[in-house]
Symmetry: C2
Subunit: 352 residues, 2 copies
């Protein structure tokens, strides 16, 4: 049974009020306390192993000092993201992480739990499930709880978003490939079914770049399954296989392949090895994300570094904090810059 203020009060022969003030040290209404009393109380509290009960505190002043972080999974630099968030919200707030495992249904359940736990704000990565939209809307409109979105916006809702510059990522990536002399550049993406904003923007960036260069677009979108599906590795492998099979069948093959994310690129590399396709001799490959593995010498994937999760978390945390403090600048979005990283899976074909 945990130690309470009352018990300490009894031991010390004072009232709970005194204990309460003594233990918090700071005195809101400048409550004067005898130093001697304070010391004695603190000593007793320590001996008894007192831990303040946050529940009671929260119930009283109706603030939990907790924010909810809702992610679909832990795959892509979630740790950096959380660190970024924690860095700016601590020590005033602490964060509560919840995952919905890429399933829209869980997304709603999780948010419900957040509400019950009385989080004061939410940083969330929208699943893309249209059915979840009303829930986000309720949260913000009905309950007035501040929400900051990570990586992608929600169609129809004017919520602040912190994301990397998806449009620029594919635009710049494509331009870079063009500068290397590539004219036939194929863009391959997974799962558009839910119309994720990020996916759309990326596609758009590619299209823009090709249009601007007067080149023909070659787009291959695979995996109409939901997110849950494509994130599974064996499935991703299948996607890679089908992309490659289609490429092999073409009479006039693309010289460069630009894929949605680095994981898919890894699978492509893998399948290429199996099929005897040489990268970058036969095919230049570029990914998006610059995940931990891409930098290894034996991978050396050319990619667009797009998801600096640390800074993203920091920005999101700051935005949320400002909203919690009343500055309802609800539609101030933050777009983080991207960077094209040329490594060894792309080559120049100028003059060939």
């Amino acid at each position: 049974m945990p130690v309470t203020l009352k018990e300490i009060a009894q031991h010390a022969g004072v009232s709970t009020t005194t204990v309460s003030f003594a233990l918090r040290d700071k005195r809101p209404s400048e409550r004067p306390l005898a130093v001697e009393t304070v010391l004695r109380i603190q000593k007793i509290a320590h001996q008894l192993g007192y831990r303040p009960n946050n529940l009671a505190k929260s119930l009283l002043n109706n603030q939990t000092n907790t924010i909810g972080v809702l992610l679909s999974n832990l795959s892509f630099g979630a740790e950096e993201l959380l660190e970024g968030i924690k860095g700016v919200i601590a020590p005033e707030y602490s964060s509560l992480l919840s995952l919905y495992n890429s399933e829209g249904q869980n997304e709603r359940v999780r948010m419900d739990i957040f509400m019950q736990q009385r989080v004061e704000g939410i940083i969330a990565a929208f699943s893309g499930d249209p059915a979840s939209i009303p829930y986000y809307q309720d949260l913000t409109e009905k309950y007035g709880i501040p929400i900051v979105l990570i990586d992608r916006g929600i169609p129809g809702l004017d919520l602040p978003v912190v994301r990397s510059d998806h449009l620029a990522s594919t635009y710049e990536g494509t331009r870079t490939l063009q500068r290397l002399g590539h004219k036939r550049i194929q863009y391959a993406s997974v799962s558009m079914s839910r119309g994720l904003e990020s996916t759309c923007l990326r596609l758009q960036g590619y299209c823009d770049a090709m249009k601007d260069a007067g080149l023909e677009q070659e787009i291959r979108i695979t995996g109409e399954k939901d997110f849950k599906e494509w994130v599974r590795m064996d499935n991703l492998r299948q996607v890679a296989r089908s992309i490659l099979d289609a490429w092999l069948m073409e009479k006039q093959r693309a010289t460069a392949l630009f894929v949605d994310n680095d994981w898919l690129a890894y699978e492509i590399i893998q399948e290429c090895m199996i099929s005897g396709i040489k990268i970058p001799q036969d095919l230049s490959l570029m990914g998006i994300g610059d995940y931990a593995f891409s930098g290894f010498t034996f991978v050396a994937l050319s990619t667009v570094s797009a998801q600096k999760q640390g800074p993203m978390g920091k920005e999101a945390g700051e935005l949320l904090l400002s909203m919690l403090n009343g500055q309802r600048q609800s539609s101030r979005n933050v777009i983080l810059p991207i960077e094209v990283k040329l490594r060894s899976t792309t080559r120049s074909i100028i003059g060939q």
Copy 2:
């Protein structure tokens, strides 16, 4: 301002008690309610957008239905671990994740927060910092809160541990290499400074296997820095470099290298490419962990699959649950089996 039972009661013209029971449906002391009333109350509650305040509930019956999960980082299959845990504790309990970023100091802060949040049990990965030990001890002895340890025990404390069979992992790994004809097998490990149980067991397994075969042990332990340090990639790279440099200097080089974990193995592969060392022709390499990348064709790392995080989480969750339900089988440890996976970084040298 959130909707309370009282408000609903006023709207419905009944008492809060009635509302409370009506909204929960189940009636502990078989409280009979007019169906009509119940329906009306539920409707009003829904219209008003009522969310139960878990804080109040928890404060009342002194149970939060929350368990704390304390990890050092999110690197190695944390998602599977959490899923495993959630799978068995839900829906009765929900989990609160906290990270201490490999710093013992944070470990204690995190645990303190857990206490304040009144978690009912804790699943933790001990950092190895000796200074944290008394805190674990307090938690379990003074506060009587059930703790299940992940992956490694705490010296001197009799807490239940769920971990993979570290001893067998290196023993079997080494035996396998021996069966491939290797006589000179070097074992390289990082950071023994804190004397992590897992690290010790692994070393032991290797030593046992070499002794049993009558072979000479070759051990290289690098990175006397704390855990925080070696987990950083550039540092791991340095470790790999130093291991390789030392290997190159030997007059009689080991034919096989067995390293502590797959990430280090990746770095070794990388450094070997840079140095022109051919794997497995010049050197057979085996890791531990079977992380996501190890299975890729272009990596194809031979390794000991040792950390099935999913099952580990499941076991830990079940153990904790049984402890929460009063069965204080405090020292019932769970050891999960390992499996040697031979891929392409090892080769047989029998008859050479």
